[in-house]
Symmetry: C2
């Protein structure tokens, strides 16, 4: 194997593929980067068995300055190889390895590294996805769906199915739901054209990594689903993720359909106030803040308290406070994450009772994004 | 106590004083910030017993928007108080506490915090320095002296005296030396006017904190030395540091006065090459790189090696290679730090023998800054 390539092009692709490479894996070959040089292209593969990423650098794109003089394949220690290529002195580098030798030489300018690789044939096969049907999604919409739901997945392994996002495709609509049983986030999008129904649960970690790869220059992502795998294809990259086994709980009846009190807040302003109040709740044994809404007085007051350290009280700005008075206590960290999910928007918060979950929806669109937070009993 | 102040002015001073406040101290009162409101100024004090910083915010500076309506004093929990003031909603804040109560109220806009303080009288006295004589140093020079020497102090407590920088003032010259017994850094400056002799050892940690406080707008620092304390005064700040007890070893004869091989390198280019070579030495049990200089061939070659991972070889660019051939092995991390100390400069490296310390000096000035690195025996 021997090729020369533009170092920045290589590093960019290497960084993408590295998202799937873990240093903590128990399978030694998976700490490696698989590198295949074909006559006209370089294929980089990384995998941690849950996520696999394969990305191609083509010689057709002149920016890559790719010239393969001898095709071949090798597995190189990913972390170490990554540190080398980032520190090489020149804008191009040459990687070569001859015959059966596993020693690979990387040269750039006056610098020459020789590192020990592993045989490419020992690398596990990537999943094969034969699904004929695919679904095309605009990358920015997919990115938004991911960002707005993955925030509510569980990080606890006690109920593994809740560490994923539940995706249901039916009636030309995609519904993504995540919940850790204390809060829930649900995002809906309408799909173009005829799409077959589907129902699967993707690990939250896979979606986080995928979200980070959907940079601004990605326009469309093609989705293919198999028995226990999903494949996202975009640009020169194939992103495979394992799906989670098991039945996702029915969440459709959790979201209240009526409310006794509603109020609107500017999301960033409410976030700042929650951040202040949580300074005190974080010092307390039970991490809870209290919100008191008085319709007659038209006041919204937020309280935080820690017996050791002190307390905080803040009058919140709001609009359209209607319905019954309510006092409700909740974990401010759930509210923070929920408000980050809606961004620079106005939100409507709707309550039914002090111990019943309350909802947050963007004021300008009640139909496509809803979040639910379960209050905390403080008495 | 009651005062209103511009929040940014307060935060800036708070951040300075906080450098001396440790959350790990065994003396509870030292986790606090001492706050004294006088009729026309606010005095903030922080201390960890080794370093004490006292800084004044004056009402005379209109940018501070300081108005003290009731003088007084309190100790507030520094970490927590700092988090509060950084998150307040408005550009000013009011701090108040009445009578003997230790409860202190912080208000800003619609947000009101109440936190528990400690009695100001329980705060330890700052050192008193009665030295009549003082030494004025330009802040930028002092900053450079600190940056160029403190890099060589020992981080090990086995020989406490080596964790400090040894400062000697004599013959209107200031000499600062630090060594951890593997490498040494020595910086000399000429002083203006008549200055009395002095000899003391300042903890490296104190100098690091002081260096960070010498921002660009500080012009001059006044230095006063007492038995076991040193005081640096600048702008509205007094920075006290404990001095280290004990005799600093005599370093004057460690620096070789002649050389058998000399060579010049561009410091940033050599640093990059050392960074590459150390990728491999860091994977090896003994962290060593090897430099081979051949005068006849006019080559300088750097080698790094790790039996498990691989090796690296690089031809270095240089000028003025003279004297005898030499091969020398050293810890690349010492060389990295030394090169960072000289910055964007050309350096002259001078060797006497493979197992004797070698020196680095800036090519443009051989007299004021010298660093010494002890090689490693590899056979």
């Amino acid at each position: 194997m021997k090729f020369t390539i533009n170092r920045n092009s290589f590093i960019r692709t290497f960084n993408d593929v590295s998202r799937a490479i873990s240093t903590k894996t128990t399978i030694p070959v998976l700490t490696g980067l698989k590198l295949v040089a074909e006559s006209n292209a370089l294929i980089l593969t990384g995998s941690d068995a849950d996520i696999s990423i394969e990305s191609t650098i083509s010689a057709d794109d002149e920016d890559n300055e790719l010239a393969v003089t001898e095709p071949g394949a090798i597995i190189l220690p990913a972390k170490f190889f990554g540190e080398i290529i980032k520190r090489l002195p020149e804008s191009t580098m040459t990687v070569s390895q001859s015959g059966d030798s596993l020693q690979t030489t990387i040269t750039s300018g006056a610098s020459e590294f020789t590192i020990n690789g592993l045989e490419a044939a020992t690398y596990p096969q990537l999943p094969t996805i034969t699904a004929a049907q695919s679904l095309n999604l605009p990358a920015d919409i997919l990115h938004q769906v991911i960002a707005q739901t993955v925030i509510a997945v569980s990080t606890q392994e006690s109920r593994p199915i809740l560490t994923g996002v539940h995706v249901t495709i039916s009636n030309n609509q995609l519904l993504a739901v995540a919940t850790d049983s204390h809060r829930l986030a649900q995002r809906k999008i309408e799909l173009d054209g005829e799409v077959s129904d589907a129902d699967f649960v993707i690990p939250g970690r896979s979606l986080n990594e995928l979200g980070r790869m959907l940079a601004d220059d990605v326009k469309t992502v093609e989705l293919r689903i198999a028995e226990n795998q999903v494949l996202f294809s975009f640009d020169h990259t194939a992103f495979f993720s394992r799906l989670l086994d098991g039945n996702y709980p029915d969440t459709s009846r959790l979201i209240p359909t009526s409310a006794n009190t509603t109020v609107e807040f500017d999301a960033p302003a409410l976030l700042s106030a929650i951040n202040r109040a949580s300074l005190l709740s974080h010092e307390s044994r039970n991490n809870v803040v209290r919100l008191a809404l008085s319709v007659a007085d038209q006041t919204a007051t937020l309280f935080g308290n820690s017996p050791e350290v002190g307390n905080v009280e803040e009058q919140l700005s709001f609009t359209n406070l209607q319905g019954e008075d309510i006092e409700i206590s909740f974990n401010p960290d759930y509210m923070k994450v929920a408000l980050q999910g809606v961004g620079q928007s106005t939100i409507e918060v709707a309550f039914t009772a002090p111990l019943r979950p309350f909802t947050l929806v963007p004021s300008e669109d009640h139909d496509h994004y809803v979040q639910l937070i379960t209050p905390v009993r403080t008495f």
